[in-house]
């Protein structure tokens, strides 16, 4: 039996600064379009990845610049997989929690905290683990023809 072919892959790496995140965003959007996602799906996958890196910059690195955040993208026959890697504080507990938002009055409206909910809604599989010094968030999304 022949082993499955190595998936196509690319690694994007940025310094932990807000301005850099858009560069990953547009690259992810382009990769999504390349593998056949619709404009809407490409936007949403980009959104999920951007939200994940926002979390890295904000929570794992506490908005400190000079750190590295990496996104490894692999394209499997059935799915596209994003691994977001950082070496900051673990966000294990954050990725466990479930939030409910109240939309009752204007004064109570949330001004953030949607990131996780967005990621979980958009992606088909979300796992978070810490291996040694490295935190790894894995986001999988089935490709259009496989879905």
């Amino acid at each position: 039996m022949t082993p499955p072919p190595e998936p196509k892959s690319i690694i994007l790496s940025i310094e932990s600064r807000w301005e850099n995140i858009s560069l990953v965003g547009v690259a992810v959007q382009a990769v999504c379009a390349y593998v056949g996602f619709s404009e809407l799906d490409s936007f949403q996958v980009q959104l999920a990845v951007v939200e994940s890196i926002n979390n890295v910059v904000k929570h794992a690195y506490g908005e400190q610049s000079g750190q590295e955040a990496k996104v490894a993208i692999k394209i499997f026959p059935d799915r596209i997989s994003f691994q977001i890697l950082d070496t900051g504080k673990t966000m294990e507990s954050m990725y466990q929690e479930k939030k409910e938002f109240s939309l009752t009055t204007r004064a109570n409206l949330p001004e953030g905290g949607w990131g996780l909910c967005i990621i979980r809604t958009i992606m088909d599989k979300v796992t978070y683990e810490t291996v040694g010094d490295t935190n790894v968030l894995t986001l999988d999304k089935y490709l259009p023809q496989a879905g």
């Binding site: 858009s22 965003g25 926002n54 949607w114």
Partner: protein, 936 residues
């Protein structure tokens, strides 16, 4: 790098083959120059298009810089530097056995200007593009630029210079954007349907203005603006009409006349009054420019309400001052905008720079001439003046004389239009070009206007672009500086200050001197090639290069030379240091005194250079045909820079800055920008002498200046003046310079040569002595380079953009790091419509967005429509900022969102925020919904 290189190689081959029809092995330097120029043009045009797209996407405010002159000089080397491909290009050519520098010499100067004013305009274009500002030059596409100067028996001869022969290839002709300009004709007085006076401009002739765009690339290559030059062409329709009438000759005459409008550049400092063609040129520029500006504006805007938010027009001196009347005419006559509204729009969009306080430079045009050319404009100017004088009368009811002083129309036997007054009245800003010049403008030249509108007057000290005057003109020095302190100085000239610490460093000094020596050797060769005079680069190169004009006092320099010469040959006194005196400059063809000055310099040179007693001690040269490309070779080789105008006469002067940037020390009076240079560079590093402007003004006022006293009491002065009066310097042309004797003594020495002569000698003596100690001199030279950073045109343009134009940089999104978010707010029917102009509203933009929104809310805006049509990505941070704004509005306000893309809408849906906000597909629906809620 390799990719850039191979792409350039391909480009060169492509253009040699397909544009020029040559094989590489058969091509000569000229062919290769064209192939290179066309390859660079390709790169510029591509970026020009993307720059334009960026400006359009952001609906950026644009600056239009109207100038009758743009003295660009050569472009190719500058373009290579700014595109960042200079070194690659040199490598590519070296591999073919060619030298880039030699190829660059093939380019002709674009000499569409006379001197300082035109060169300033060119430096400004470079800075605008480098600062990523949407700013465009508008000028005339002269077929013949400034004349080529030849020297014949010491006299200047003018020869035509047809720069277009080659430059035409590199511009972009835009026939599709040609505009029609009416001239001549008559006014038909009539009434409109409501009985209001409704004049009609009838039977006008028609000239076509065809734009040619010259790409202007900023450093780094990100922004490519353009200089739009209009060429006058006859209207074919009109020709046909005359042809049909059977008058073939009249039709051809008409064609020739129309074309003649953009035929030739006039010398700025002596335009004879009443020259109809010059006035036509000024109007042609203004009419073409305004039509073009309005055409562009109306592509994206329905009415003129926000015209001045989107358009700034700078009048570079009074030559384009007819813009005041022309913009009013277009708005009132062609678009039926009420007079008051049109006047507000005109004043808010126009601004005027004054460049000279010399009375003879104040432009005036006879009303009779204007009436014949532009009858409707004269009516409008009279109406502007009537309303203006009403204001003057109500401000100062007791001072009737003010109305006379300030009137746009000068009464008298020949009534004339004062163009400066028209420009001041019609602009929201009036600026001078150096601190002293602005002060004199306010105190002496336009005191009444300054009292009436103190807020209009401001100073913008001139500057030069370090990218042309150091990076391109002096590559060895630029290289040394970059190796020593890094290359940030290329876009931030204040960083040159970092060189201060190396001023005493022996190794740095040594390299600095070696570079000066190389530049002097290059100039030595040029001098020999053009004048056959042998010079010695070990001598002090004492340089005065600029327009020849009495107030710039080339005569004072010549008097100093004669003094040195006579001390040597009559007294046997050696000069403190051997010197080579270098002159270059053109005289206006009709300016007799200036042309005589060239003759005098050449005769003095002839006598001194051929006197064996002066060998190796004194040399005098006049290098013919001064132009930008020659200045780029003279300036880096200068030791001493002569800036010796009569105090109070030179508005700014910019060659002093160019010399200092290249390590020459300044010998100057307290005039123009010398004063600010003194402050920056420090009195110990500059030689200042002579009467101050206020002292000269006082002497003029009291009549207390008596040149005869100087002549009689000072033997040194007497000897020099007598030498001029004698035939010493004109042995074969007796009495040739006697006129100078009477000019200096009997006619009162208008420019104070004799009063300043002895202090000048003393300062020169000091300079000569210090030059003998290289370590001291070099230290001062290095400090000059280090401290001249303030005089970068980047600083000047930054000030104009901030204070006068309200212009913001427009960079591609990827380069906008750390910059303010671009966001537009406009009022529609009492509502605030906010449109973020960025594509992304994400974590890096959220805080800025929120800050701007909160400012608006705090300013009292309670009902806001957020138009997201330009935004294609929002993340939860961006969304959080929008929600936060809604909360800031409190219970009474409203934030309505419209024009959300489907993709972005999915974020609102995922977070259920689509239930919180009112959202509409179009701005109109949003406005309607907001209005339906009643008053906020």
């Amino acid at each position: 790098m390799n990719k850039v290189k191979s792409s350039l190689q391909k480009s060169l081959h492509h253009h040699l083959t397909y544009s020029l029809g040559k094989k590489w092995e058969e091509s000569d330097e000229r062919d290769l120059f064209y192939a290179l120029a066309l390859s660079v043009r390709d790169r510029l045009v591509k970026r020009l298009l993307s720059t334009e797209e960026r400006y359009c996407h952001g609906d950026s405010k644009r600056l239009y810089f109207l100038s009758i002159e743009f003295l660009l000089g050569r472009s190719l080397a500058n373009n290579l530097h700014n595109l960042g491909i200079y070194d690659v290009c040199r490598e590519v050519l070296e591999e073919k056995g060619l030298e880039l520098d030699q190829l660059l010499e093939q380019e002709n100067d674009a000499a569409l200007g006379n001197g300082g004013l035109g060169r300033l305009a060119a430096c400004f274009l470079d800075s605008l593009a480098t600062l990523a500002l949407p700013g465009f030059g508008y000028g005339i596409h002269y077929e013949y630029g400034l004349f080529r100067q030849e020297i014949d028996n010491g006299y200047q001869r003018e020869r035509p210079e047809n720069w277009l022969a080659e430059a035409g290839l590199l511009g972009i002709e835009r026939r599709d954007e040609a505009c029609i300009v009416p001239i001549y004709g008559r006014i038909e007085h009539g009434l409109d349907l409501e009985g209001n006076y409704n004049p009609m401009w009838m039977d006008w002739h028609m000239v076509i203005g065809v734009p040619h765009d010259i790409p202007i690339v900023g450093y780094g290559g990100t922004t490519v603006n353009y200089l739009r030059l209009f060429e006058a062409r006859p209207s074919t329709e009109f020709d046909i009409q005359i042809f049909n009438e059977g008058d073939y000759f009249r039709a051809v005459e008409q064609k020739i006349y129309s074309e003649s409008i953009s035929k030739i550049l006039y010398p700025s400092d002596l335009v004879e009054p009443g020259r109809e063609l010059r006035l036509l040129q000024e109007y042609f520029l203004v009419a073409c420019a305004l039509r073009d500006i309005l055409r562009h504006f109306l592509q994206n805007h329905q009415n003129f309400r926000d015209f001045s938010d989107k358009v700034a027009v700078q009048l570079n001196d009074t030559h384009p001052a007819l813009a005041v009347a022309e913009l009013m005419r277009i708005l009132v006559d062609e678009y039926s905008v009420p007079w008051e509204e049109a006047w507000t729009i005109t004043q808010q969009s126009l601004a005027y720079t004054n460049h000279s306080i010399l009375p003879e430079a104040m432009e005036k045009w006879p009303v009779s001439l204007l009436e014949r050319l532009l009858p409707r404009h004269v009516q409008i100017i009279y109406e502007i003046n009537r309303r203006f004088l009403e204001k003057v009368a109500s401000t100062w009811p007791q001072k009737l004389e003010c109305q006379d002083h300030m009137s746009i129309i000068e009464t008298g036997s020949v009534p004339q239009v004062r163009m400066a007054h028209l420009a001041i009245v019609g602009s929201h800003s009036v600026n001078g070009v150096s601190a002293i010049h602005t002060e004199l403008l306010q105190k002496n030249v336009f005191p009444d206007f300054a009292a009436l509108w103190p807020e209009k007057f401001n100073n913008k000290s001139n500057g030069i672009t370090q990218r042309r005057w150091l990076l391109t003109a002096n590559p060895p020095l630029a290289g040394l500086i970059s190796r020593t302190i890094g290359d940030h100085w290329i876009t931030d000239a204040l960083r040159l200050r970092d060189l201060e610490k190396f001023a005493d460093n022996p190794a740095f000094q040594e390299e600095f001197c070696a570079i000066k020596r190389v530049n002097k050797e290059r100039l030595q060769r040029i001098i020999y090639e053009t004048t056959r005079v042998e010079t010695n680069p070990d001598t002090l190169f004492d340089v005065q290069t600029k327009r020849i004009h009495e107030y710039k006092r080339q005569l004072l320099k010549v008097m100093h030379i004669i003094h040195e010469y006579l001390c040597l040959v009559e007294d046997g006194c050696l000069p403190p240091v051997p010197r080579t005196y270098i002159f270059a400059g053109k005289a206006a063809p009709g300016y007799w005194v200036a042309k005589q000055m060239i003759k005098l310099i050449n005769n003095v040179a002839q006598i001194i250079n051929n006197d064996l007693r002066t060998q190796d001690l004194l040399k005098v040269v006049f290098i013919p045909d001064y132009k930008v490309s020659l200045a780029e070779k003279i300036i880096p080789a200068a030791d001493l820079s002569e800036q010796i105008s009569t105090a109070g006469q030179e508005a700014s002067g910019t060659s002093n800055m160019k010399f200092a940037l290249n390590g020459a020390l300044t010998m100057g009076t307290l005039d123009g920008s010398n004063i600010e240079m003194l402050t920056e560079i420090g009195p110990e590093n500059i030689y200042i002498f002579g009467l101050k402007a206020a002292e000269i003004a006082a002497l003029r006022h009291s009549g207390g200046y008596r040149p005869w006293d100087y002549y009689e009491h000072h033997p040194q002065i007497r000897r020099v003046v007598d030498a001029l009066n004698s035939n010493l310097f004109c042995p074969a042309e007796h009495s040739c310079f006697q006129w100078l004797f009477s000019n200096l003594l009997d006619q009162g020495d208008k420019y104070f040569h004799l009063a300043d002569f002895l202090p000048y000698l003393e300062a020169q003596e000091r300079a000569g002595k210090e030059f003998q100690t290289p370590a001291i001199w070099t230290r001062k030279a290095i400090l000059n380079v280090a401290r001249v950073g303030k005089f970068s045109s980047d600083r000047t343009i930054d000030e104009y953009a901030r204070d006068i134009w309200g212009l913001k940089p427009c960079l591609p999104e990827a380069l906008r790091e750390g910059m303010d978010m671009q966001i537009e707010g406009k009022q529609v029917d009492g509502l605030l419509v906010v449109t973020p102009l960025e594509k992304r509203l994400d974590a890096s933009a959220a805080a800025d967005f929120k800050g701007k929104m909160v400012d608006w809310i705090n300013a009292g805006h309670q009902r806001i429509i957020l138009d997201l049509s330009r935004v294609d990505f929002v993340d939860s941070s961006g969304l959080g900022a929008i929600v936060s704004c809604l909360k800031t509005l409190g219970g009474n306000g409203d934030l309505i969102i419209c024009c959300v893309r489907e993709t972005v809408m999915s974020l609102f849906q995922l977070t259920r925020m689509n239930r919180v906000f009112q959202m509409f597909n179009s701005e109109a629906e949003a406005i309607q919904a907001a209005k339906a809620k009643g008053p906020a």
